[in-house]
C-alpha cells in the first residue's frame, strides 16, 4: 500500500530541505513553482512584512514620544508638517502611536497565537496518540472551553488579574487553545493512521519519537496556516478588548487603545479612529492572505490538485 503520495508524509528532512545540490521532493518542487503565482501569499507577505518592519523600527526610531502630551498641537489635521497623520486630543503624534501600536498589537497577537499553538499542539497530539480515555477527556475538555465565550474569559481575567498586555495574551491563549487542540488532534490522527507510522512503530520507535519525528513535520503546514489565522484573530481580539478598556493601557499603546481613545472625538476628528482602524484591517488582511497562501502552498491535497 506504500504509494508515492504516501511517501510525501514520510519524515523527510533530506527530501524536504532544499539546500544547494540536495534533491528536493516533487511536492516541494511544486510548492516552489506555485509560489510566485500565489497572489494571496505575495500580498499577504508584503503587508505582514511592512507591519513587522514598522514594529521593529519603532524600537529604534519614533517621530516623537507617543505618550507625552503637547496640548498646543492638539487635533492637528492630517498633512500637518511634522505630524503627517495629525495628532490626537492631547497633541500626540498619530504616526508614533501607530508605530508603537503595531509593536503591541503584533506582540499580543503573536504571543497569544504562539502560546495557543504550543499548548494546543501538546494537547492535540496527546489526544490523538493516547488511549480513548485521554482522548475523550481532552476532547470534551476542549468542547467545554469552546462553549465559554472568549470575551467573557478575557473580561474575567482582566477583572481578576488586571488589564494589560500579559492578561490579554493569557486571555487569547485560553480562547484559542481549545480550537488549536481540535485541529491538531484531527490532523495528527490522520497522520497516525498512515502506513509509514505503522512501519516506524514496527521498527521499534517510541510514541514520543514517532510524534516528534514523523507526525509533527507532517502537520507543520496545518500548524503554520492555523497560526497565521489565529495571529490575525488575536490582533482583532486584542483591539476589541482594548477598545472596551480591558486590554492594554498607557504607557503601552495598541491600535485598539487608540480606537478607544478616539471614540470620544469621532464627531470632531474622524481620522483619529480611521488610522488605527485601517492599520487593523490591513494587518489582519495581510495575515489572512498569508495564511490562505501558505495553505495553498503547503496543503498536499491542493498540491496534488494543482499538479
Amino acid at each position: 500500500m506504500m504509494t508515492m503520495s504516501k511517501s510525501t508524509h514520510a519524515p523527510a528532512p533530506a527530501s524536504g530541505s532544499a539546500g544547494p545540490g540536495v534533491p528536493i521532493s516533487p511536492p516541494a518542487r511544486k510548492s516552489r513553482r506555485r509560489l510566485p503565482r500565489n497572489a494571496s501569499l505575495i500580498l499577504g507577505l508584503i503587508l505582514t512584512t511592512i507591519f513587522l518592519t514598522v514594529a521593529l523600527v519603532s524600537f529604534f526610531y519614533l517621530p516623537s514620544n507617543p505618550n507625552i502630551p503637547v496640548i498646543r498641537n492638539r487635533l492637528l489635521p492630517a498633512g500637518t508638517p511634522g505630524h503627517w497623520l495629525g495628532t490626537d486630543v492631547l497633541g500626540r503624534d498619530i504616526i508614533a502611536q501607530l508605530m508603537v501600536g503595531a509593536r503591541t498589537s503584533i506582540l499580543v497577537g503573536a504571543g497569544g497565537a504562539t502560546l495557543s499553538l504550543i499548548l494546543g499542539t501538546i494537547a492535540g497530539l496527546a489526544a490523538a496518540a493516547s488511549g480513548k480515555i485521554t482522548d475523550e477527556a481532552i476532547s470534551r475538555g476542549a468542547d467545554i472551553l469552546l462553549s465559554i465565550p472568549g470575551m467573557v474569559t478575557a473580561l474575567v481575567l482582566a477583572a481578576t488579574m488586571g488589564s494589560g498586555a500579559l492578561t490579554t495574551i493569557l486571555a487569547l491563549t485560553a480562547f484559542f487553545t481549545p480550537s488549536f487542540t481540535r485541529v491538531i488532534r484531527s490532523a495528527a490522527m490522520g497522520v497516525l493512521n498512515e502506513d509509514f507510522i505503522t512501519a516506524a512503530k514496527l521498527y521499534g520507535r517510541g510514541k514520543i519519537f514517532v510524534l516528534a519525528r514523523h507526525v509533527l513535520p507532517n502537520i507543520a503546514g496545518v500548524m503554520i496556516v492555523q497560526f497565521t489565522l489565529y495571529f490575525a484573530a488575536g490582533i482583532l481580539t486584542e483591539a476589541g478588548l482594548s477598545y472596551l478598556g480591558v486590554g492594554v493601557h498607557r504607557p503601552s499603546i495598541s491600535w485598539g487603545l487608540m480606537l478607544n481613545e478616539a471614540q470620544q472625538q469621532v464627531g470632531v476628528s474622524s481620522p483619529l479612529a480611521i488610522w488605527p482602524g485601517l492599520a487593523i484591517v490591513l494587518m489582519v488582511l495581510g495575515l489572512n492572505l498569508l495564511g490562505d497562501g501558505l495553505r495553498d502552498v503547503l496543503d498536499p491535497k491542493l498540491a496534488r490538485r494543482a499538479s
Binding site: P69, I71, L75, V89, L90, A158, H249, Q264
Partner: protein, 512 residues
C-alpha cells in the same frame, strides 16, 4: 448726458431696492425656519441624557432626577437667590430667633397640584422624612435639629441644639422640599408638590411630560406644556437640537464640549454656563506620603494643560479651591489661593534635593472610561518628566471603585476624581473612620463646624474660606478645575436663570 446718468442712477436705485427686499425676504424666511414650531403652540421640548429610574427625591440623589422634580413640581420652604437673598417658597414668611436656634415657618395658604391643601402636618411629615433620608447630604441639614412641631394649622416650629447654617440653607434645597403625606406611596412615579408644574406623564427611558399646575400660587409658567425627552446618546441630542426637533439641551456633559465647539453650535444656539450642575475635578494624594512630597507632586499639576485638553474654554475654570463658582469661598486659580502652583523646575529641584526619585509612587487611573483616563495621560508623563518614579495602575471601574473606596490603608498614591462639591465630605472626626480619601484633619473639621454655627453670612463665608485654605494647604485634596454646567437653548427660548434648588432647571422661567 445728465439724463442718461439719472436713468442709470434710477435703475441702480431700483436694483438696490429689489436686492434689499429680496435679502429681507430671504432673511425673514430663514428666521421663520429657525423659529421653533413649538413656540406658536406655547410648548417646548427639552432633552435629558439619563432616565432617573425613580423620582423619589427623598431616597435618590441622581442628577437625572434633581434636574426636573425639585422647584418645578416640589418646592422647598424657601428659595435662596444667587445674590444671597431669601425668597418665600412653601413658607410665605419665617422668623429666626436671635440665637439662631429656633425657626418658625408660616405656611402658605395654598394647595398641592392634586388640590389638597398644604397643612402643617404635611410640612412636619416632609421635614421628618428628609431628616431620615438615606441620602447623607439631605439628612445632614438636620444634624442640629432637636424638634419639629406644629404651632397652629399654618405654623411649624423647628428647634435646633445649636445654630446651623446647614439647616437654614437646606430649607432652600432638596432637604426642604414639601410633599403631601397622602402621596407617599406614589412618590417614586408621580411626586406631587406646590410647584409651577405637575407631572402629566412619565414614561421610563422615554419622556417626562409636564403641564402647568392650575393651583400654583405664583406667576403662571409662560410655557404651559413641557416635554423632556430622554436621549442618552449625546451626539443624537445635539443632532436633534440642530434639526429643530427639540428646543434645548440644558445640560451638556464634558464629552460633548469639543463636538459642540467644532460644529459651532455655540454660535447657532444660545450657550449658557452655570456652576450648579458643574463639579470640581481634583487630585487625591495619599495622606501617608510626606507632606513635602505631596506638595512637590502638586507642583507638577498643569491646570491649564488639563483645562485646554477639553477644547472648550468656556466650560471650566482653573482653581485651587475645592468649590464651584457659586459658592462664596470659591476662588479661581491665582497666586493668593494656590499654595502649590504649577512649577516643574521647582518640583525637579526638590525631587533632586530630597531624593524623591527613589520613592515609588502609584497613580491609580480608570482604563475603561476614556474621558476619565485623560487626566492620567497628562499627569503621569508630567510627574515622570519631573523625576518621580511613578507607575500608572490603569484599572476598570469595578476594580478602581474597590481600590479607591475600600482600600485601607490607601492602595494608591495619586488619583484624579470629579464629583460633588460638598466640602463636608472631607470632614473627619476620627482618623480610623476617615472617608475614602483617608484625609483627616481636626483643624479642617473644626473650621467646617465653626462655619455651620456661624450667626451671620459674613462669618459663615469667612469660616468656609478658612476651611478651604486648610484643605488646599494640606495637599491631600488638590483641586484642579471647576467644570461648569453647560446648556444650549434655541435662540428664541429666553429667560434661563441659574438653578436655585440644587441643580434643578426652573422651567417656569423660560419663555418664547
Amino acid at each position: 448726458m445728465q439724463g442718461k446718468m439719472n436713468s442709470i442712477t434710477k435703475r441702480l436705485g431700483l436694483l438696490t431696492a429689489a436686492a434689499t427686499l429680496f435679502a429681507g425676504a430671504l432673511g425673514a424666511g430663514s428666521m421663520a425656519e429657525a423659529a421653533s414650531p413649538r413656540a406658536a403652540e406655547n410648548k417646548m421640548v427639552l432633552v435629558a441624557r439619563q432616565d432617573p429610574g425613580t423620582l423619589d427625591f427623598v431616597k435618590s440623589n441622581l442628577t437625572a432626577m434633581r434636574l426636573w422634580i425639585p422647584a418645578n413640581i416640589v418646592e422647598p420652604l424657601v428659595y435662596f437667590n444667587k445674590d444671597g437673598s431669601v425668597e418665600p417658597g412653601v413658607a410665605e414668611s419665617w422668623t429666626i430667633s436671635d440665637d439662631k436656634k429656633t425657626y418658625t415657618f408660616k405656611i402658605r395658604e395654598t394647595t398641592f397640584s392634586n388640590g389638597a391643601p398644604v397643612t402643617a402636618e404635611d410640612v412636619i411629615y416632609s421635614l421628618n422624612t428628609m431628616k431620615a433620608s438615606p441620602v447623607v447630604d439631605y439628612a445632614a441639614a438636620y444634624e442640629a435639629v432637636t424638634g419639629i412641631e406644629k404651632v397652629d394649622d399654618r405654623t411649624v416650629k423647628v428647634t435646633l441644639s445649636r445654630p446651623s447654617q446647614n439647616f437654614w440653607r437646606g430649607m432652600g434645597a432638596i432637604s426642604g422640599l414639601i410633599q403631601p403625606e397622602a402621596n407617599a406611596a406614589n412618590i417614586a412615579t408621580n411626586p406631587i408638590g406646590t410647584g409651577p408644574y405637575k407631572l402629566a406623564n412619565y414614561t421610563t427611558n422615554s419622556t417626562f411630560e409636564f403641564a402647568a399646575n392650575p393651583t400654583y400660587w405664583g406667576k403662571k409658567p409662560a410655557v404651559e406644556n413641557v416635554t423632556v425627552r430622554i436621549i442618552t446618546d449625546g451626539t443624537a441630542g445635539l443632532n436633534a437640537l440642530e434639526a429643530g426637533e427639540v428646543d434645548s439641551l440644558p445640560v451638556i456633559t464634558i464629552d460633548l464640549w469639543e463636538q459642540l465647539s467644532k460644529r459651532e453650535l455655540d454660535k447657532k444656539f444660545t450657550l449658557v454656563t452655570y456652576p450648579q450642575v458643574g463639579e470640581p475635578t481634583y487630585a487625591v494624594l495619599n495622606q501617608k506620603l510626606d507632606k513635602d512630597l505631596r506638595e512637590t507632586i502638586a507642583r507638577t499639576f498643569d491646570r491649564q494643560s488639563y483645562n485646554d485638553a477639553f477644547g472648550a474654554a468656556w466650560g471650566a475654570e482653573n482653581t485651587c479651591t475645592f468649590a464651584l463658582p457659586n459658592q462664596v469661598w470659591y476662588s479661581p486659580e491665582n497666586a493668593e489661593t494656590c499654595p502649590f502652583p504649577y512649577d516643574m523646575e521647582g518640583a525637579m529641584a526638590t525631587i533632586a534635593e530630597k531624593g524623591y526619585a527613589s520613592t515609588p509612587l502609584e497613580y491609580a487611573s480608570l482604563s475603561d472610561v476614556p474621558d476619565l483616563s485623560l487626566p492620567a495621560d497628562i499627569m503621569v508623563p508630567a510627574m515622570q518628566a519631573a523625576g518621580f518614579n511613578v507607575t500608572r495602575n490603569a484599572i476598570d471601574l469595578a476594580r478602581y471603585s474597590q481600590l479607591i473606596f475600600q482600600g485601607r490603608p490607601p492602595q494608591f498614591d495619586v488619583t484624579i476624581m470629579s464629583g460633588d462639591a460638598n466640602p463636608v465630605q472631607w470632614a473627619c472626626q476620627d482618623e480610623a473612620k476617615a472617608g475614602w480619601s483617608t484625609y483627616c484633619s481636626a483643624e479642617y473639621t473644626k473650621a467646617l463646624a465653626d462655619a455651620d454655627v456661624a450667626l451671620t453670612d459674613e462669618d459663615y463665608a469667612a469660616q468656609m474660606k478658612k476651611s478651604a485654605d486648610i484643605l488646599r494647604k494640606d495637599a491631600v485634596i488638590v483641586p484642579l478645575i471647576a467644570k461648569k454646567g453647560v446648556g444650549l437653548f434655541d435662540a428664541g427660548l429666553k429667560g434661563f436663570e441659574e438653578p436655585r434648588v440644587g441643580v434643578a432647571i426652573e422651567m417656569n422661567k423660560l419663555h418664547w
